[in-house]
């Protein structure tokens, strides 16, 4: 791929223990193109969230990103940045929607405060300018501006999810990471969120790193998909290729384990 937005090379992440280390991510490499929708699938504990956290370097001890790893975002290796540069990069270049967005909002600050602090930190906007911008962003996700003075506990779960998405787009990031954003929601809401993201992508042109264990869902929305197993990236390909002609044993097993109502079985389009 020429001029990828995100280029990960030889990424290895361990969790340090008292006597031995747990290898959460083992030598993973992949690219994400600008504006691409990239899905990262795998079962719980396979390391996908660990990779997501590493991109903004959000890990805390005892996690450690091993020497030799490279995470190049828009030409800069994130792992070599100092604290100030890192803080500048966060939210401006890459924003993240966490697994249960309901808990991602600070319970003691109003929605407006939580927009304001990120806008002020990065752009030095005044209160009133920040309020206007926040209202604009909430409109993108169909939330009325009067909700700005509310506290998170006063909003429903779905609304909080949408507020978080709006907040993510505040600085027009190039990459939006979504870590199992729909797992805690029912299928109807899931669909709505994904359609919304699709529309916003068309408007604003950001790339998405979408993490989930739901392979079937991913195939419908992703451009390319990576399959992870126990810390290793075992297969990367276009969504349709993953669907029709999975190359790796594990991918095939994933498809085989899924109950089908009828029609062609996944992976049976080509010779096994």
């Amino acid at each position: 791929m020429s001029d990828p937005l995100l280029s990960i090379r030889n990424l290895s992440i361990d969790y340090v223990g008292a006597t031995s280390d747990f290898h959460a991510v083992k030598n993973v490499s992949f690219d994400i193109a600008r504006g691409e929708f990239f899905g990262l699938a795998g079962e719980s504990g396979c390391g996908k969230s660990t990779i997501a956290f590493a991109i903004s370097r959000l890990h805390r001890p005892p996690a450690i990103i091993r020497k030799g790893s490279q995470i190049v975002l828009d030409g800069r290796d994130v792992l070599t940045l100092d604290d100030a540069e890192l803080r500048q990069l966060r939210w401006r270049e890459v924003a993240m929607v966490f697994q249960s967005a309901m808990n991602s909002l600070n319970p003691v600050l109003t929605i407006e405060d939580q927009f304001h602090d990120v806008l002020k930190t990065h752009t030095g906007m005044s209160r009133s300018a920040a309020r206007a911008r926040a209202a604009e962003l909430l409109a993108l996700v169909d939330i009325a501006a009067d909700r700005l003075s509310a506290y998170p506990h006063q909003l429903s779960g779905g609304m909080r999810q949408r507020v978080v998405i709006a907040m993510c787009l505040a600085l027009n990031p190039k990459l939006l990471i979504m870590d199992e954003p729909t797992t805690a929601l029912d299928v109807v809401v899931q669909r709505e969120i994904l359609e919304r993201i699709h529309k916003l992508r068309q408007e604003l042109g950001f790339a998405v790193l979408f993490i989930t264990h739901d392979l079937a869902l991913m195939v419908q929305v992703s451009d390319r998909i990576g399959i992870m197993l126990e810390g290793e990236l075992v297969e990367v390909n276009d969504a349709q290729a993953i669907y029709r002609s999975p190359q790796h044993d594990y991918t095939r097993k994933l498809w085989a384990s899924m109950p089908r109502l009828g029609g062609e079985r996944a992976g049976e389009g080509a010779a096994s």
């Binding site: 959000l58 001890p61 924003a95 967005a101 600070n106």
Partner: protein, 325 residues
């Protein structure tokens, strides 16, 4: 609002419980309750004064239920009887003076310790695993295991007697007249230093470790990670995302520890001969001045309840989830 009203009702019940304890204590101890209560009076007490006192404390010629109501009536009309030792000084007057000293010392010391302790706790949690964290944790262990009496004695011994830097007792120089003169006020501050220091030493560690543990318990929460992911300054996340949320259970812990705070202040006042509520109670016990002893229990309970209520108020102010429209 409903929350605060419920708390008030509860405090009222607790106050009545304290009064009930007062009512039953002389009556369940072996011996004649009136003898026990007023024996120390001696010849100072004329018959009509003794009868007035008996009425106040419910020792009337009537069934127990009526006695109880009579006593409650006295309590709620502010009549706590008169001191046997300092007859005819009303108990309320005696305690009012002492209360001012205690509220000053304990109030100020608690505020300082809470502020200092929570700040140390915040920093220790944010800089996990560093020297600061270890020092804070260990000194908190000392703080919770060494009794107030021991700390007071050691502070008095070191700074009062051995080094002679500070006076050994009293709220102010007994030669001075009380008043808002610089001389008197500075004397108050000078005399108050060692008791304040002791209280701060005793209290800070507990607050520090509580705040540290509360912070650590919520450092894995999603909103903290999101705060960092937003690229906010480290200090902002530490204060406004972590500490501000950890403050809630820490303030709860403050409410629970108020009993121990009051108890500790009692000892400190006795050791430093500070004329507060604690010392007054102690002197009353030595002199078997039962009206004062009983009055103290009520006033101290009332003080505790008031302090608890103030903490409840701050809790409501701090936690938006309680501020229902």
């Amino acid at each position: 609002m409903a929350f605060l009203l419920r708390r008030l009702a509860f405090y009222l019940a607790a106050f009545i419980a304290a009064a009930t304890i007062n009512f039953f204590l002389p009556r369940v101890m072996p011996g004649d309750p009136i003898q026990i209560m007023f024996a120390g009076a001696g010849s100072d007490l004329s018959l009509e004064n003794l009868n007035a006192l008996k009425l106040t404390f419910g020792f009337i010629d009537a069934p127990l239920g009526e006695q109880y109501l009579a006593y409650l009536k006295s309590v709620f009309t502010g009549d706590l009887g008169r001191s046997i030792r300092f007859f005819p000084l009303p108990v309320t007057e005696l305690l009012a003076r002492a209360l001012i000293w205690t509220v000053g010392l304990v109030g100020l010391a608690t505020l300082v310790s809470f502020a200092l302790g929570t700040l140390l706790g915040v920093m220790a949690a944010w800089r996990r695993g560093t020297l600061l964290d270890t020092v804070v944790s260990l000194s908190s262990i000392f703080s919770s295991s060494v009794p107030a009496v021991v700390v007071s004695l050691i502070v008095l011994f070191t700074f009062g007697y051995t080094l002679g830097w500070f006076p050994n007792g009293y709220a102010a120089n007994p030669m001075l007249d009380p008043g808002w003169t610089w001389e008197y006020v500075s004397s108050v501050l000078y005399h108050g230093t060692l008791p304040m220091l002791t209280m701060v030493l005793v209290l800070t560690g507990g607050f520090a470790v509580t705040m540290r543990n509360n912070m650590i318990n919520l450092l894995g929460e999603d909103y903290i990670v999101m705060g960092r992911a937003k690229g906010l300054a480290d200090r902002r996340v530490m204060l406004w995302y972590a500490a501000r949320n950890a403050l809630l259970p820490t303030v709860s812990a403050l409410a629970i520890s108020l009993g121990a705070v009051l108890g500790g202040s009692l000892i400190i006042e006795v050791v430093f001969n500070y004329p507060g509520m604690g010392n007054t109670l102690y002197q009353a016990i030595l002199a078997r001045d039962y009206p004062v002893i009983q009055g103290e229990l009520l006033i101290m309970t009332a003080a505790m309840l008031t302090a608890n209520f103030i903490v409840d108020l701050s809790y409501v102010l701090l936690d938006p989830r309680l501020k229902k429209a």
